[in-house]
């Protein structure tokens, strides 16, 4: 059973370095499995999706980047605020000529850079457009849309377009657009998932991020713990070893049993390494407990050496699926 059956728009955030783009792509593959159509979008001009799928830089156009198990398809779109504004002017106001002239003057760049909140409304507005397309309108209809969103530290502010735009304008079409974006983002059709690793800073940011999302009226979705590593030592000896009580006799005996040279220097070097490892395992357990206390659906992904290859993405998709996320 899927844990998020009503969700149409999956927003994926995470601290830099936690692998949020990889997880977003894996989630898109999982959602597409069995013949569904999924759009994977990015908004930070990083071209992370293209790199991941080994494709040339994505234009402002929905391109198919992968085929999922069972025939589903993943399309990708890199949303650019300038293009989104031009499209917006064209579609709603028939201002095509004005748009291209304004672009030449640098006005489009100026407006998307400086007008408070405008950039974010344009980006989220385009995501909303893709997520809410209907049969008779133009464009491909998607079963789900995944957004590779800005990092956890900025996610609540990025999605809170209403408040941001309020400083700019109290009325008019941009304001209305912000309202409808906000309505979708706060509805049960949207979930904001946070990717993290079992390290102090990413976990702290996840805790803070969830609090900020809730304060903004947004719905935190899952916590995805990425790049987990199995402890290499027996469970019952972790605590003592971490506290520095390393059984050096046992290490020396083992080295001898394996007919290795167990001189004191080697034994104490191995003991120090084992103790470091045990401390790490303890820290990871502590971080895992902190995350569990958040009481969100939580999925664990192991460290995958080739996570950025298609096979690695497929493995992430399979794991998210079998863990019940989709």
């Amino acid at each position: 059973m899927a844990d998020f059956p009503a969700v149409k728009l999956h927003v994926v955030s995470g601290k830099g370095g936690t692998g949020k783009t990889t997880v977003a792509a894996g989630l898109a593959l999982a959602l597409a499995a069995g013949g569904r159509q999924v759009l994977l979008t990015e908004v930070e001009a990083r071209q992370g999706i293209a790199q991941l799928f080994d494709a040339p830089p994505l234009p402002y156009e929905e391109r198919r980047v992968a085929v999922a198990r069972g025939g589903g398809e993943v399309y990708a779109l890199a949303i650019d605020p300038e293009q989104a504004l031009l499209e917006y002017l064209e579609q709603f106001y028939n201002l095509r000529r004005a748009g291209s002239m304004l672009k030449r003057l640098g006005a489009i760049d100026f407006a998307t850079t400086i007008a408070p909140g405008l950039r974010d409304v344009l980006l989220t507005g385009k995501v909303m457009e893709a997520a809410t397309r209907e049969r008779r309108g133009g464009g491909r209809i998607y079963d789900a849309v995944v957004l590779d969103a800005p990092p956890t530290g900025r996610i609540a502010k990025f999605l809170n377009v209403n408040t941001e735009v309020a400083a700019l304008t109290k009325m008019g079409p941009v304001r209305n657009q912000a309202n409808s974006v906000m309505t979708l983002l706060q509805s049960a059709k949207t979930a904001v998932h946070l990717v993290t690793m079992l390290e102090e800073m990413p976990v702290q940011e996840t805790v803070d991020g969830i609090a900020e999302l809730i304060a903004t009226g947004l719905r935190p979705g899952a916590v995805i713990v990425n790049m987990m590593r199995e402890p290499l030592m027996p469970d019952d000896s972790v605590a003592d070893t971490a506290a520095g009580k390393v059984d050096t006799d046992e290490i020396a005996r083992g080295l001898k049993a394996a007919s290795l040279d167990g001189d004191p220097a080697t034994v104490s070097a191995l003991a120090a390494e084992l103790s470091d490892h045990a401390r790490r395992v303890m820290l990871e357990r502590q971080e895992l407990a902190t995350l569990s206390a958040l009481d969100r659906p939580m999925y664990e992904l192991p460290y995958i050496a080739d996570a950025t290859e298609l096979s690695g993405l497929q493995e992430i998709a399979d794991r998210l699926q079998s863990a019940g996320m989709v």
Binding site: P116, L232, P234, G254, R280
Partner: protein, 385 residues
């Protein structure tokens, strides 16, 4: 501790740097431990007798707490717990970019005008979220601190930019933006000389304001026009300021430290940065490599450790020793990989001096931890505990 290295890179004399430099700029990709390095250098220099100020941008909460940085008041505060017996001191501050920007506004306009600008939504947006404002304000603050003349040494940590190069380019990018075509266009009616000039641009401006009016309404248009006119009167010298800070970075007494970790992306960024500093003739002191794995028993190879672990795993009594061997194999493999990456970097940049800091089992968040890192940076032999 030792680790197999084919060509050990020339080591960076950190203590000499801390003794002679007036400004040390720590730069590098995000997440490589720049702030920790800057803090560790500050602590060490202060305890060796210099009067030091550390300017940090976005420290982890517990690291900030360890330096007493609990409030964002944009002013250096004394760090307590520093050994001042050598006559030094340590102050630290966290950059508040908006406040730094606000201060410039207040300093360059009368009260009523400043009030209007500070409340202007376009200004608020520029001062709090323009990509590059943080970098620009960090340099502005560095210039202010230097001008005070209070400290022998200022250690500055650069913002966590998407690319390490942003920090060199941002001040000029902001200057260019504020000096840009659209701004000139919008301010044109106020300073237009010839009629022809006015006529050509009037069409564009009218179109822009019409579209804006339709999309945002009249109030937003009034806000924009106030913003633009205040730019005209008070930020005219923006580019000039950017040039000044840029010059400060080239002065004698300024040194750059590129911070990296032995991972492909971080080293690639470090290489770009090293090359860029060379092109700009900026003084590079060297590269600090954080999170380097080391093993105390390099002679016991990865293969033999794994084979032995496999043998022992068959025997239930030896699980502990087998674990120790597995952990060792894992650690040594990381150490070998890190050493290879470091020597590849060294081969490509033979003249660049390097200092290494071993991977810590947990994050550093106290002065003792910073001292330990400082000692390691200075390649001091660790004293037996």
């Amino acid at each position: 501790m030792t680790t197999p290295t084919s060509t050990p890179p020339a080591s960076l004399d950190v203590d000499a740097l801390l003794r002679d430099a007036q400004i040390i700029v720590c730069c590098g990709a995000g997440g490589v431990g720049k702030t920790t390095t800057a803090a560790a250098l500050g602590v060490r220099a202060a305890e060796q007798g210099r009067s030091v100020c550390v300017l940090t941008i976005d420290p982890a909460r517990r690291l900030a707490q360890s330096m007493g940085l609990t409030e964002l008041d944009n002013t250096p505060r004394a760090v307590s717990g520093i050994d001042t017996s050598a006559g030094g001191r340590l102050d630290a501050m966290m950059l508040d970019m908006k406040r730094t920007f606000d201060d410039i506004v207040v300093a360059h306009s009368d009260e009523a005008r400043a009030k209007a600008i500070l409340a202007n939504p376009f200004y608020v947006s520029l001062s709090s979220s323009f990509a590059g404002t943080q970098e620009y304000m960090a340099m502005e603050k560095l210039g202010q601190l230097k001008a005070k003349g209070t400290w022998d040494l200022i250690v500055v940590d650069t913002p966590p930019s998407r690319s390490a190069l942003d920090f060199l380019d941002a001040p000029q990018r902001l200057g260019r933006f504020l000096d840009g075509r659209m701004i000139r266009l919008l301010t044109a009616p106020a300073r237009a000389g010839g009629r022809a000039y006015l006529k050509v641009f009037a069409v564009g401006v009218k179109m822009f304001t019409d579209v804006l009016n339709r999309l945002l309404g009249a109030q937003a248009l009034r806000d924009l026009s106030l913003f633009v006119t205040s730019l005209e009167t008070m930020f005219g010298g923006f580019r000039e300021r950017a040039d000044q800070t840029y010059k400060l970075l080239k002065e004698r007494g300024t040194s750059f430290l590129v911070v990296a970790v032995p991972e492909r992306d971080a080293l690639r960024e470090a290489a770009y940065f090293v090359e860029r500093l060379e092109t700009e003739r900026m003084p590079l002191a060297g590269v600090v490599l954080n999170r380097v794995h080391m093993s105390g028993a390099p002679a016991l190879s990865v293969e033999r450790s794994i084979a032995a672990a496999e043998t022992l795993e068959g025997d239930g009594d030896e699980a502990y020793a087998a674990a120790a061997l597995r952990v060792h194999a894992d650690r040594l493999a990381s150490a070998i990989r890190d050493a290879r990456r470091a020597s590849q970097f060294h081969a490509a940049h033979p003249r660049v001096r390097m200092a290494e800091v071993t991977a810590q089992a947990s994050d550093v968040h106290d002065l003792e931890g910073l001292r330990r890192i400082g000692a390691e940076l200075a390649a001091e032999t660790p004293t037996a505990a």
